[in-house]
Symmetry: C2
Subunit: 230 residues, 2 copies
Amino acid sequence: MPSANHVVPHFQDELELLKVRLLTMGGLAEERLRTAMGALVDRDGDLLDAVEAGDEPLNRLHIEIDSQALRLLALHQPMAVDLRMVVAAIKINTDLERVGDLAVNIAQASQRYLAYTPVKPLLDLPHMARIAQGMLRDSLDAFVRRDLILSREVLARDDQLDDLKTVIFRELLRHMLGDAATVAPSLELILISRHLERIGDHATNIAEDVIFMVSAEDVRHGPRDPSPHR
Amino acid sequence: MPSANHVVPHFQDELELLKVRLLTMGGLAEERLRTAMGALVDRDGDLLDAVEAGDEPLNRLHIEIDSQALRLLALHQPMAVDLRMVVAAIKINTDLERVGDLAVNIAQASQRYLAYTPVKPLLDLPHMARIAQGMLRDSLDAFVRRDLILSREVLARDDQLDDLKTVIFRELLRHMLGDAATVAPSLELILISRHLERIGDHATNIAEDVIFMVSAEDVRHGPRDPSPHR
């Protein structure tokens, strides 16, 4: 480890710090998602309030990481894989910030859902959330370890999220058609499933950025483009 | 204008080319949105098919712009506002690609909507689309002209989109509660309104990136943070 008595810190030290910060941010985002989903299942309005109000630490990290990445580019002018890594960090930072926003969106929809009689036991939505959390965690691990295999594995999991979303949609539609009292609360659950799907999309973006970073291969619009679906 | 007989093209020439490409991409994305919404209103399934199948040119530009921006960073190692401009271009590129995806999502939901009896005359959704298109166009103009005033003006318009989305949601909920036959098609219209809102969010992101690029001021989590709402 280089000593701290340099005016310009070593590039690899700064990059390490950037990675740590991104992992911290990812941990926070994941934690907020887990809390929101737990509060939905436990019907805990206070905890949902806390999620809605608690976006500040993530937002602060978002700004810090962006400034740090820009400083890194300006001071060290990295090349090749190092350059791609810093650019990937900038993109991943944006994705993680959006995941934090989506946790707020989920808390808000959950809050509205709690005003109604429950439509059904919540099993599929927490299942979706666990998959999305796993994708997020693994995509960040793949970034830190520059792990192509894990990245591709994250991409493959997006289909599970998509299938679950469709199952949830069909089931809720059936409820809505059968009983008008379930229409408004079911709409909230459908919205939550879309928010969870988008969290999976962000993990997918991260995994694609890692693949590009490591291999300089652009998989984003290849034959298995996971982007637009319902 | 510098001559073309340099091995390494001039930074400003390359930056100009990057801007032109981003504008082309923005024009394409806007065009696809306009086509999808027109086809929804005219109930033109063939045109919707064309939008669903036509993402390729945008995807190609997305990859080209990213590579060009990375090359620019590696070859010219720009500083200060030039560096922030290239990083902004990388972010804007991502936003525009998502707008293209959202046009596909809108075309898909519209296609499903056409299978049902129309729920209502479509006035508010095209209105939302026009606002989102205007925000997108102006945010890109602001990028090219480094225009802070126009950027802030784009941010201000996001509230209109949000209000319209809420109006649409309430009206459709009323339909759904009154007549079960409207539930499934109304759901598609609600999804379309969410896609349009997200296009506005992308324009907002672009405007915020422009403000940061020009002034190095981070407005993204200030007192008027437009991010998470229903």
